[in-house]
Subunit: 291 residues, 2 copies
């Protein structure tokens, strides 16, 4: 089998026209170059250079030219492979991140921006699926608001408290008592993932809000609140806060929505993924609480 080292020697000899000069260029001795060429010639089945003898430069044979042409190509590609590895280790490369529309309206953009700033050459791909059973096999990382079975490792990023969102005049300022939700007209997310858990808890407490509208879109929910259709119980991070809306903590507090970062157990992270995890953790820790 041909080896790259031998081909590098072949190229050096062809370039220099001399075994000795090729040896100098490569940091070998002349005899070593002779042997390497001999190995190649045995593998190729014929002489690769004509040795005129004396001070005349050696000349490639037709057979040698065949090997030389392919050899140069191979070496160039081996170099580009080494480059690709170096770039990857430096943080370049691709990362596939899974997310959910209902999550990370606040978190993800910040993480992505920091990641891009740190690794300008990287290729970040986002995959958004609304499902209870995420498929991590094709992803490096995934944001998710709950636990997941299987061979998954998870890192808890933050607790996102549920709040009541109303029009400023429709509800007395300050915290809201949970039982005040009973029979209240509410808009909310569809009853999947985290929302399902919230409604289960309310039901267990005998609290029956009146769900008048459901949508997956956070902005649509808030628009409905502004339009007076009803109030909203939703995770704080899903609320784009401004003066047209009033935020009320709940008492007693509902269990917060827990936001996790997931990845397949036992998997070695790319530098990019490792950095993304670190950034996500830091950004999550620095998020403002209820304002």
């Amino acid at each position: 089998m041909y080896e790259l080292r031998h081909l590098a020697t072949l190229v050096a000899v062809a370039d220099e026209g001399s075994f000795g000069r090729a040896a100098t260029r490569l940091g070998y001795t002349q005899s070593s170059v002779s042997q390497q060429i001999a190995v190649l010639e045995k593998a190729a089945g014929g002489p690769l250079f004509d040795r005129p003898g004396g001070p005349k430069p050696v000349r490639i044979t037709p057979l040698g030219a065949v090997l030389l042409e392919h050899g140069r190509d191979l070496l160039a590609r081996a170099d580009s492979m080494a480059d690709a590895v170096d770039r990857f280790r430096a943080g370049d490369g691709r990362i596939d991140i899974g997310t959910f529309q209902s999550v990370s309206n606040v978190l993800l953009p910040t993480v992505i921006r920091e990641l891009r700033d740190a690794h300008p050459g990287c290729d970040i791909r986002l995959f958004e699926e609304e499902t209870d059973e995420p498929d991590l096999t094709e992803l490096d990382l995934m944001f998710f608001d709950g636990h997941v079975g299987g061979d998954i490792e998870h890192l808890k990023l933050l607790d996102d408290p549920h709040v009541l969102v109303t029009r400023p005049g429709d509800f007395p300022p300050g915290p809201a008592r949970l039982d005040q939700l009973d029979r209240l007209p509410l808009v909310a997310h569809p009853a999947i993932c985290d929302q399902a858990k919230v409604e289960q808890i309310l039901q267990n407490k005998g609290i029956r809000p009146h769900f008048v509208f459901r949508t997956i879109g956070n902005e649509a929910l808030l628009a409905m609140v502004r339009a007076g259709l009803g109030a909203a119980v939703m995770p704080l991070l899903a609320v784009h806060q401004d003066e047209t809306l009033a935020i009320h903590e709940l008492e007693p507090a509902l269990p917060p929505r827990e936001i996790f970062l997931l990845w397949q157990a036992g998997r070695t992270h790319s530098p990019l993924a490792a950095h993304a995890i670190e950034i996500a953790q830091r950004v999550a820790a620095g998020l403002p609480k209820i304002s």
Copy 2:
């Protein structure tokens, strides 16, 4: 430096999902595969596979995927290189042959046909230059009608006798005496190469033909003979013999045109070139004499 052997192992492990099965496939032992991957991992600077332990298959890491992708490409190209070498040794490849219009009207087509039949995949390139100083540096072989200085090896293919060509009625059948050429209207090649030597000899003997037309084209010369412009003294091989022309040997014979096959001294021939030399020699030996 990465070596092809290591990359082949990497690919086998990735394909098989197991160090042991990769070893079986490659004819190694499992421990050897472990070591090869370890070498690669040291070169790449990180793990290339996640080893879950137990019967679970090993899985490529992102870093490993980078190496794997390039490695497959490199190995495929190394294979194609080995193929190219094999094909070359079997007689495929390219051959560059130099020729002259005034030579090889008979010889070259036969040689080319035999060569193509024996090596259907080969690439034969012909270079025709009318010059007294042929340049062999870019050619594998060259047909030529004379000696050449420099580092040239030569193989004499055949003696091509000079003959007198006339219209059947214009000259008594049978051999012609050389002195009969004196003052005879002749058509001939331009006075270069072989033709120059012929005219030198005639002049030394005091024989002064009357050259009424010169052209490089053999067919044009013969057409002029048919048209009655004059007779022609030319090498036999240049004559397309038919009943419209009469061929006369010369007495005493002029030194024949010698046709050589030339190549640069000390150069290793490709199988194709070696075969071409052998064919040319055989075809030349089998050529018909004066008919």
